[in-house]
Chain length 437, copies 2
């Protein structure tokens, strides 16, 4: 089947991430989508940058309108941003019968009603998963996964820059101004950070989620927006002492009087999961009448996480265009004739870390015997603690955390350790995962 | 347009939740789906129970085969469970050209390959969001939202019973046996809890996620399963002292040697978000090469959360059967002619709680003046703390947490408080949300 041909408008951070992920994962993506998806043309004013990133894998132009007017292009990906030329390009693409994928929350918050009406009239898709919370599939979850629910409220940490600043202020006790400078140096804040720190970017995203959750047109102009620039370290500390954490939240809520749509610094109880979302990460809590509270967490920005959402939308469009309706999304995500026969590993061959608890007699030389056994089997120890025997007990507990090793090595070691005369009872073995990469 | 007619097989806990949510939210659901979705027939051996729940809104039968053979039924929802008659009914429904929605993880983990092949041949959908993590839309997220990614690993707390037991053991220091009895009394554990506590239920769910994440057939027989029944309170405490929490995790990982698929108690660092998922809640962390780590959290069981997933699938099927492909899922989740015109509330009319920080001169009567102003405006105080002045300062900080009140009342109070002679500087006002319902 002919590949889906995509025209990419703008190859900055997100465009570059989209391009490279689509190229790197093209084999898996076509196994999932049912056909290849190829970015054939890239439009960017900086053609030198575009050439450097695409490495001859796409045609480069500095004329974005030539892409939206190209009859060979099936889907236009708009990653230029802003509400100026981006709007003209999206409207033109729709007029030309092309499907559109965009990450542009400002464009949709301001002009979404007009854009969606045009797309509906023309019978094309406009997909925008990447516009909210980067790689987190929150638009799909709200629009499809939770569609059974009467949504009661949506609360989100949806601006990574602000969350980074608040996390750092709390951790280090530094002032807003100090941490903002640090965020700029790390590339987490732009030279003009107004949109991020004053809650405007969050309000754009919240406007989209509110419309989807409650089935209302987008009304960005009625959103209430208050940023974090006036927060002091004292308030963060005082809140902490009272059991709360301060986060810049987007909150949209259905009440009897109407719908609330507001972005502002907010105290939330420390024990809530979302209070523990730190740094540039995003999280959205959705309260539905049937499902209760659900939370969606992940990287809210960045080249490849946002690229992940852009490509997810491309696959959605490709599946809709390609498959008969019944098989739009395959049961196991990949097309049935595209499943792999990679082996499932037997447990002996699994690599993980371990918590080992041994009960031993409190005698000299015990530890030497045990560590010798482990060393001979190539098992290295990350931490070791000895617990004194409690009253009435004669054996002490030794707890060890190992580094990663094969399960069969650990099982051999345990057998040898249990055979030692000084070891009483069975060794307790619990696996340990750092989950840090 | 003619309503989609659904036959429900089994009206126990999940069936009852599905029935009542579909009825309660029928108006919003048809605005989203583009047509009405109606459970016209319910099959259950206990016809008295079925009648009590359905209250005359559906035809009741004790013959499930009559439902799968009924030409009027478009979609069969299988909520009987197990791998016996449920399999015969699902296969018969497919043979009769009906779409199937099921929550039956055991059935799919054991016989999914055969069922999906039959459905593919017949051109019908088999949807199973409810089979994993209740109302959390993890199947859709893996299959669609994260489809751009090469999935590296999936790690989940996907059995609420086990997580409840481990949470309680850690909180109270009680033994496994003690907490298991408590879980039974609370209805969180069944009379025979083997499937839950020995990791078999989790392995069923993990088998499905592994297949979807990596594009492999389901191989439940090769899964490694180890439960929590041998965990001691000492190990939980020792792990805690070392900075770790013990969770029953399902782990599936792609390695160079093959795919790991294992369920066992696992130590994870306390600071990971998933380590803080407590009680009967579920959470799944997915690591994709582009998106990084994402987490999906929510109620993993229960009548209405699982019903939410069942109905989400029904809406998916309805949208696919109904809409032209371009409009399968409307831009704003609801059909374009079905948006509401509920007003967005001005900020003055918003009801929330507040953190107020006042700087006041340390004089008698100050607090009386302030609390009088608040009381007159109907604002009640939940907590109040006074901070002694730091060296060189003359004013003290008073911090108050209010209960819920209208923003305009608080703004009036602040204006009056700032007008007091004893109050120095501006009042700091930060909104507070409990997020507890």
């Amino acid at each position: 089947m002919k590949p889906i041909q995509v025209g990419l408008l703008g190859i900055g951070t997100v465009g570059g991430g989209t391009f490279s992920v689509l190229l790197r994962n093209r084999e898996e993506i076509s196994r999932r989508a049912g056909r290849a998806i190829v970015i054939t043309t890239v439009a960017d004013k900086d053609t030198a940058r575009a050439k450097a990133i695409t490495q001859g894998e796409a045609t480069i132009t500095d004329d974005a309108f030539s892409v939206v007017n190209d009859p060979a292009i099936d889907i236009v990906v708009e990653l230029i941003g802003g509400t100026g030329v981006a709007k003209q390009l999206v409207m033109k693409a729709i007029e030309n019968g092309k499907h559109v994928v965009t990450a542009n929350k400002a464009l949709l918050a301001h002009h979404g009603n007009e854009i969606f009406a045009a797309a509906h009239k023309k019978g094309v898709m406009v997909a925008f998963e990447a516009a909210v919370a980067g790689g987190v599939p929150i638009i799909k979850s709200l629009r499809e996964g939770l569609a059974a629910n009467r949504i009661e409220w949506i609360v989100g940490i949806i601006n990574g820059t602000s969350n980074f600043i608040l996390s750092k202020m709390r951790e280090t006790g530094a002032s807003f101004a100090q941490v903002l400078e640090q965020a700029k140096a790390l590339g987490y804040a732009e030279a003009d950070p107004t949109f991020d720190i004053e809650g405007i970017d969050a309000a754009h995203k919240l406007t989209l989620m509110s419309a989807i959750g409650f089935g209302i047109p987008m009304q960005f102009s009625a959103a209430y927006t208050e940023g974090i620039s006036k927060l002091t370290r004292e308030d963060i500390r005082f809140a902490e002492e009272l059991g709360y954490r301060i986060k810049l939240l987007g909150i949209t809520k259905r009440t009897a009087a109407g719908i609330e749509l507001r972005v502002h610094p907010t105290l939330i109880p420390k024990e809530r999961l979302i209070a523990n979302v730190e740094g540039v990460m995003n999280a959205i809590v959705v309260k539905g009448d049937a499902v209760g509270q659900t939370m969606f967490y992940g990287a809210g920005a960045g080249a490849e996480p946002t690229g992940s959402a852009v490509i997810g939308d491309l696959i959605d469009v490709a599946r809709t265009l390609t498959a008969d309706p019944e098989h739009r999304v395959p049961h196991l995500a990949f097309q049935p004739d595209q499943l792999s026969d990679i082996a499932l590993l037997p447990m002996d061959e699994v690599n993980t870390a371990y918590y080992l608890r041994l009960q031993v007699l409190d005698q000299p030389g015990v530890l030497a015997d045990i560590t010798r056994i482990l060393a001979d089997l190539g098992i290295s120890i990350g931490a070791m603690v000895q617990k004194e025997p409690t009253e009435g007990e004669t054996s002490v507990n030794i707890i060890m955390l190992t580094h990663q090793t094969l399960e069969k090595q650990v099982n051999q070691a345990i057998a040898k350790i249990e055979a030692l005369a000084v070891v009483t009872g069975k060794v307790t073995r619990i696996r340990l995962e750092e989950l840090d990469s």
